[in-house]
Symmetry: C2
Subunit: 217 residues, 2 copies
């Protein structure tokens, strides 16, 4: 086997379109058919919800801020009061969107790829299934300008549709985090704007992007 | 300074909305205003183009495949004939979409974050400004099912709108890679389907997801 797809008979994967088998004249209408002037909300944000943002702040500084989990208390709308737990790396706080709602969270950050993943859950810390996948990219490389591009993706885990741990929910609360899935795009956009405003203010005023209280603990 | 945003006067960042200053009743209509039943192509894919795909193939194997740059010769529509150059890590091949069009490319992959970035350019290898940002995510974690989620983002670098090295273009070619930006979404979707079909076929048939010829060289 010395060349592309030598191990697969072409008729076994008819849905594969490569220039050798599907010439440009054939591919063009296929591509045109997938192109639309508008796309429904459900198609764009139904199963995955990705936001992109430009932030006029050096990427390493923005990454460092995000990688400190307490930054969430600043730029998110309602996640507050994070304190360490007895489990290394696991924090406990509150989502003030829900009455008496505890949030558990840990961060997995990679300084080389500048990925920052927040693994979270409402009510319990044993299974952190709400995963916020973020990445900081050097805008000089991808947009030819100083600053950062922030990518932020959530995937629609089935637990958004059914609370897997109903016994852990506080009695006073009648909602569930998954009730908000349909407004994740605008809700996260509001938070992306928070992140942008806070980081840009600090960077442009010579303040540390990551304040001591976020770094400390 | 011991608490959130202690270093910034609230009136300096009026665009920041947090539950303390913008209560839920006030935030709800703001969020509702950003929510639409349809979104124009330009808003969704104008400056950034992100695709998401589910692939029924273990994430480590899919990452390994993508991290080998010659996999591009299989799942892309028209990138072919990659060979090593005298510059370590830099490959040279052809984009058969354009007449006599050379492509230069290198891959930056991070096995811990499972990011795979292809840094590419048409015609010259000195400035690789076309950056394909990909990431493989464990679908068990984010979707509660085996397999992989693939995230793929391109950012609209200004060179898409104007060829920065016109002298390097072959005489026979009248187009430019940026002419395709408006069809990146459907074009990349076709390629995402290729990737899915190839990886799923190999995984389900017990074949190595990364064949020897892709791994070798």
């Amino acid at each position: 086997m010395t060349a592309a797809l030598d191990d697969i008979a072409p008729e076994a994967i008819p849905q594969v379109h490569r220039i050798e088998s599907t010439d440009i004249e054939t591919a063009e209408p296929m591509v045109a058919e997938m192109l639309h002037s508008v796309y429904p909300h459900e198609q764009v944000y139904g199963e995955y919800c990705t936001l992109h943002g430009y932030v006029d702040c050096p990427p390493r500084q923005l990454y460092d801020y995000l990688a400190h989990i307490r930054s969430l208390e600043e730029w998110t709308y309602s996640l507050r009061g994070l304190t360490v737990t007895d489990t290394p790396g696991l924090w406990q706080g509150y989502d003030r969107l829900g009455a008496d709602t505890e949030v558990y969270a840990r961060v997995e950050a990679n300084p080389d790829a500048m990925t920052v993943d927040y693994h979270c859950a409402w009510d319990q810390g044993a299974h952190l299934w709400m995963i916020y996948l973020m990445r900081v990219v050097d805008a000089q490389a991808v947009l030819d300008r100083p600053g950062s591009v922030v990518l932020w993706t959530n995937c629609r885990h089935p637990f958004y549709d059914r609370n897997p741990f109903p016994a852990a929910a506080p009695a006073a609360r009648d909602g569930w985090v998954g009730d908000y899935w349909d407004i994740f795009y605008p809700g996260h956009l509001l938070e992306m704007h928070n992140l942008k405003a806070i980081a840009e203010y600090r960077h442009s005023h010579g303040l540390p992007v990551t304040p001591e209280w976020v770094r400390g603990a």
